[in-house]
C-alpha cells in the first residue's frame, strides 16, 4: 500500500552523515538510487541532474554570472523553514563571496541538482556538505585560473569577496567574474580540495534576517496558486464523502448547464473546469454522485483499541540488561499507557498545482516538498519519460511533512493532458483534511520501575504505530527494552510524516513516565532526571534550560505549574521548561516556555530561533487541542472551526538558548517540537496534580483527570 512507503521513508531519523562516508550514507538512505561517481566523471551536470543522484560536477551547484553574482542551485524548497538563508550562508563562506551576491535557485527539477526532498531536517546535514565540497573545488579552480592569468604561483594567492587576490599586494587581483566571464567552468580537479574548517567561517554562525521577507510583506511572493498562464483553466475535482469511497454513478448534468463549464471524466477522476475558480467550485457542488463507502467503522474513540488489536509485527529497537532482574530491583513498578490522536499538517496554503503541456514538455508548478519525486510520479501518471517533466516548487506556504505527497500535481497534470489547456488544481480546506497524510494515532505502553533511592531500574517500552524515531530512551537504566509495534494498515485514511515524525508521540510518553516516577520518589523532576542521566549533552541542556528558566527544586505537584521535558531529534538535543496556568474549567494557558537546544554549530542563529519558536507554537496545538475527528474514512473536521490550531492568545513568552558548539551542524526545523506534549503534561500535573495520558489535553480531558 502506498501509505506504507511514505511511512518507511519519512519516519526514520536518518543520522548525520559526518560519521559516515558517502557509500554508507547511500546505504542509510535506502540505496540503489544513488551512484557514487568518481571525480572527473565524464557525465555532464545535466545528465547527473536527471539521474536521481547528487552530481559531482560543481557546476550543478553553483554558477558565477557575468555580473559577479552567484547562482546557487538546490533541489530543496523554501516553505518557511529558512534554508533560503542558511544554504547561501554556507556557500558564501566556502566560496568567499559576499552573502548578498548569492541568488538562490530552488526546487526546479530542470535547473537544480537532484534531491530526495525537503523533510527530516536534512538540508543542513545532507545537502550543505556536498554543496560546500562543490564550492571548495570551484574556489580552488578559480585560484588556478587566476594564477595563470596573474602569472603567480597559487601559494601567493588568496580569495576574498568574489576575487582572487595576491597575498602581498591586494591591488593585484582578478574577480571571479573576470575569470569566468559568465561561462561554465570546464576545469575540474583530480583531487578534491578539503572544505574549510568551521573556525574559518565568517558568515556561518552570524544571525541573518530572512532574505525572502520583502517579497512576502508586499504580496509579490509567488506561491503555486499565483502562477497565471494564458488560456488556463481552474479545476475543481469531485471528492467522495469518505476516504477510500468508490464512485458508483455520477450525474453531471446540472454542472454542465453553467455557462463555460467543462466537465471531464477519466476513470474515478471527475472534474469541472472553468476560467474562474469560484465558478468551477459552484459547478462541482451541483454534481450528484453515488458511492460505495468503505467498510471501516473505527472512529476517533475506538481507534486505540483497533491499533492494539491490529498490531502483528514487532521490532526490538534497543535492549540491555535483563528485564526480570530490573523488576526484582524495583521498589515501585509503574505500568502506564499513553495515547495520541491523529493530527493534521494544516498549513495555511492548501495543496496547489498548475500544469502546462507544450508539445511533449510537461511543466508543473506545485506546492511540494519533493519536486524530484513528483517529477517521476507525473511522468508515470502521464506515461511520458521523466526527462520531459519539469517540476517547479515556488515558495511553499508551509509543509511540515504534509507536502511530501503531491496528489494535486498529478491531478493537474492529468487534467492538463485531458483538456489540452494549462490547469490549476487548488484544494479547498475540506479536501486538505480529506487527503492530508495525518500524523498517525498511536499508543505507547510503558512498564518501568525505580529503586527505593530513586534510580530507574526498569524500562520496558512499546510504541504502537507511531514509529521508532525518538523511541530510544537515553537515561542510565540497567535493564531496558524498547520495541516498536506495527503491521497491516490500520488507519482508515492516509498517514505520513508530521514534523518530527513519531518523536512527538515517543517524547510525550517517555517524559511523562519519567515525571510520574519522580513524583512517586518524592524528588524534584529536574533532579530526578539528572540523577538518572550520564549523557553529558542532555545534562548540559537541562542545566542551561533550568538556568534561563530560574528553576528551583520542588517535588511535584508543587502547585506552581512548572513542567520539564527533554529529548533528541535529527541529531539535535532539546530541553524545555514551561509554566502553565490551569483554569477551573480545565483551560490551559501556557505562560512561558524556555527551550535550550544543542544543534552543533548554528549556521544562522536567527533562523534557528525562528524554528524553535515555530515548533513551540505549533506544538501547543497538538498538546492542547489538535485532534482529527472521524468516523471510518469520513473526516468530520473540514476547517479550522472544529480543528483548532494555536492562536494569538495562546502565545507564551518564549526564550531560546542555543548552546555554543563547533560540532557539525544538525537539524533545526523539527527538534524543538518534540517536547511540547510532555512539557505541558508535566506542567499541568505540577499545577493541579492531574496526570494526562492522552494528547491533546483538552479542557474535557483535564477536568476528567482532575476528578
Amino acid at each position: 500500500m502506498k501509505e506504507k512507503e511514505y511511512l518507511d521513508l519519512d519516519f526514520s531519523d536518518i543520522k548525520t552523515p559526518f560519521t559516515l562516508n558517502r557509500r554508507e550514507f547511500i546505504k542509510a538512505v535506502g540505496g540503489g538510487i544513488f551512484i557514487f561517481l568518481t571525480i572527473g566523471d565524464p557525465l555532464d551536470a545535466e545528465a547527473q541532474r536527471r539521474g536521481g543522484r547528487l552530481p559531482t560536477d560543481f557546476n550543478a551547484f553553483l554558477q558565477i554570472k557575468e555580473d559577479g553574482r552567484v547562482n546557487c542551485f538546490t533541489g530543496k524548497i523554501e516553505m518557511g523553514q529558512g534554508v533560503i538563508n542558511s544554504i547561501p550562508q554556507s556557500l558564501a563562506d566556502e566560496l568567499d563571496v559576499p552573502l548578498d551576491s548569492v541568488d538562490m535557485v530552488m526546487g526546479d527539477t530542470d535547473l537544480c541538482p537532484w534531491d530526495m526532498g525537503t523533510f527530516g531536517s536534512m538540508t543542513t546535514r545532507f545537502f550543505v556538505p556536498p554543496l560546500r565540497e562543490a564550492a571548495a573545488e570551484a574556489r580552488a579552480v578559480l585560484i588556478e585560473l587566476a594564477a595563470e592569468r596573474l602569472e603567480l604561483p597559487v601559494e601567493k594567492l588568496r580569495t576574498e569577496g568574489g576575487a582572487v587576490i595576491e597575498k602581498n599586494n591586494s591591488k593585484n587581483r582578478v574577480t571571479y567574474a573576470q575569470l569566468t566571464e559568465g561561462k561554465r567552468i570546464e576545469r575540474h580537479l583530480e583531487e578534491k580540495p578539503p572544505v574549510k574548517d568551521f573556525l574559518e567561517f565568517k558568515i556561518v554562525g552570524k544571525p541573518v534576517l530572512r532574505r525572502d521577507s520583502l517579497e512576502k510583506v508586499t504580496g509579490e511572493a509567488k506561491f503555486a496558486g499565483d502562477i497565471r498562464l494564458p488560456g488556463m483553466l481552474y479545476a475543481k475535482i469531485l471528492r467522495p464523502p469518505a476516504y477510500g469511497a468508490r464512485l458508483k454513478s455520477v450525474d453531471t448534468s446540472a454542472a454542465e448547464k453553467i455557462e463555460g463549464v467543462k466537465v471531464v471524466r477519466d476513470g474515478d477522476l471527475v472534474a469541472v473546469l472553468h476560467t474562474l475558480p469560484d465558478v468551477a467550485e459552484k459547478a462541482v457542488s451541483k454534481i450528484k454522485a453515488d458511492y460505495d463507502l468503505p467498510e471501516s467503522d473505527v472512529d476517533d474513540k475506538s481507534i486505540f483499541d483497533h491499533l492494539l488489536k491490529t498490531a502483528s509485527e514487532s521490532n526490538i529497537e534497543a535492549n540491555g540488561g535483563d528485564l526480570e532482574e530490573g523488576r526484582e530491583l524495583s521498589h515501585h513498578i509503574f505500568e502506564e499507557k499513553y495515547l495520541n490522536s491523529y493530527v493534521a499538517h494544516a498549513p495555511i496554503e492548501n495543496h496547489t498545482a498548475i500544469a502546462n503541456i507544450e508539445g511533449n514538455k510537461v511543466t508543473v508548478w506545485a506546492s511540494t516538498q519533493a519536486p524530484f519525486r513528483v517529477k517521476d510520479q507525473v511522468a508515470e501518471a502521464l506515461g511520458v519519460s521523466a526527462e520531459n517533466v519539469r517540476i517547479i516548487a515556488p515558495f511553499v506556504g508551509g509543509g511540515f511533512g504534509g507536502k511530501t505527497r503531491c496528489q494535486q500535481g498529478i491531478e493537474a497534470a492529468r487534467l492538463a493532458k485531458l483538456t489540452g489547456k494549462p490547469v490549476q488544481v487548488a484544494w479547498g480546506r475540506a479536501e486538505e483534511f480529506l487527503y492530508d497524510t495525518f500524523r498517525p494515532a498511536a499508543v505507547v505502553k510503558i512498564t518501568s520501575g525505580i529503586t527505593d533511592d530513586g534510580k530507574i531500574s526498569l524500562w520496558d517500552y512499546g510504541v504502537y504505530y507511531a514509529g521508532g524515531r525518538g523511541s530510544q530512551q537515553f537515561y542510565d537504566i540497567p535493564h531496558h527494552r524498547t520495541m516498536t509495534h506495527s503491521g497491516g494498515y490500520p488507519h482508515p485514511f492516509g498517514t505520513g510524516a508530521w514534523r518530527a515524525p513519531a518523536n512527538n508521540t515517543n517524547t510525550f510518553a517517555r517524559e511523562s513516565q519519567i515525571d510520574i516516577m519522580a513524583a512517586k520518589a518524592g524528588i524534584d523532576p529536574l533532579e530526578f532526571r539528572l540523577k538518572n542521566l550520564k549523557n553529558n549533552q542532555v545534562i548540559r541542556i537541562l542545566k542551561a534550560a533550568a538556568d534561563k528558566f530560574g528553576w528551583t527544586p520542588a517535588k511535584g505537584p508543587s502547585g506552581r505549574g512548572y513542567g520539564i521535558a527533554c529529548g533528541t531529534d535529527a541529531g539535535t538535543w532539546v530541553a524545555h521548561m514551561a509554566e502553565v496556568e490551569v483554569n477551573d474549567d480545565g483551560h490551559v494557558q501556557v505562560k512561558r516556555v524556555v527551550c535550550a537546544q544543542d544543534m552543533g554549530l548554528v549556521v544562522n542563529p536567527q533562523g534557528a530561533k525562528l524554528q524553535v519558536e515555530g515548533c513551540i507554537i505549533m506544538g501547543l496545538g497538538y498538546a492542547l487541542s489538535e485532534e482529527v475527528h472521524f468516523k471510518g474514512g469520513e473526516i468530520l473536521d473540514t476547517n479550522f472551526d472544529t480543528y483548532q490550531i494555536t492562536r494569538f492568545s495562546w502565545t507564551p513568552e518564549i526564550e531560546t538558548v542555543l548552546i555554543e558548539s563547533d560540532a557539525p551542524p544538525q537539524g533545526g526545523g523539527e527538534p524543538a517540537i518534540i517536547c511540547m506534549g510532555g512539557v505541558i503534561a508535566n506542567a499541568i500535573f505540577d499545577a493541579t496534580g492531574a496526570r494526562l495520558y492522552q494528547l491533546p489535553m483538552t479542557p474535557d480531558r483535564i477536568m476528567q483527570a482532575r476528578r
Binding site: 510583506v217 469560484d278 515555530g614
Partner: protein
Amino acid sequence: METINFQLNDKPVEITIDDARMLLWVLRTDLELTGTRFGCGEGICGACTVLVDNYPVRSCQFPAVNADGKEIVTIEGLAKNGELHPLQKAFMSHDALQCGFCTSGMILTAYSLLLDNPEPTREEIIEGMEDNLCRCGSYGRIIKAVQTAAQEMKEAR
C-alpha cells in the same frame, strides 16, 4: 451580471461580474492581484483579509458587488511611492513571518487595528489579531512588529 466601480489601491476599477462572486476570486483571478491569499474559504483564517474603506474584511466571504463605490486596499497597495509601510518594515526587521502565507492578511488586519488604536497594548493587539491564523508560529514576532510599527507611526506624526 452587474457592473461595479471602486477604487483599488488608489486606482479606479470598473468591472462587470456575476453578483454571487466573492471579492477574493475577483481580485486574484479577474484582476490578477495574487497577494491576497486563500486559506480556508470560510472566513476563519484571515489569509484573505483586505481593507474595504479601511475596515478589514474577509474577502472570501465578501460579495464583490458590495465593493461598489468603496475604497479597497490589498497588500499590493500598502507601499506608497516605493516606500514600504511601517508595518511592512517592522515585519521584516522582526522576521515576523516564515512561509509568509498568512502575512498579507496579518499586515492588513494590523493596519486597520492601528487606525482604530494607534498605541495598542500587547493584549489589545492579541484581541485585534486573534482571528488571523499562522501555522508557522510567528505570533510573538507579529505582536512585536505591530508595536514597533505603532511606535514609528507615532514618531512620524
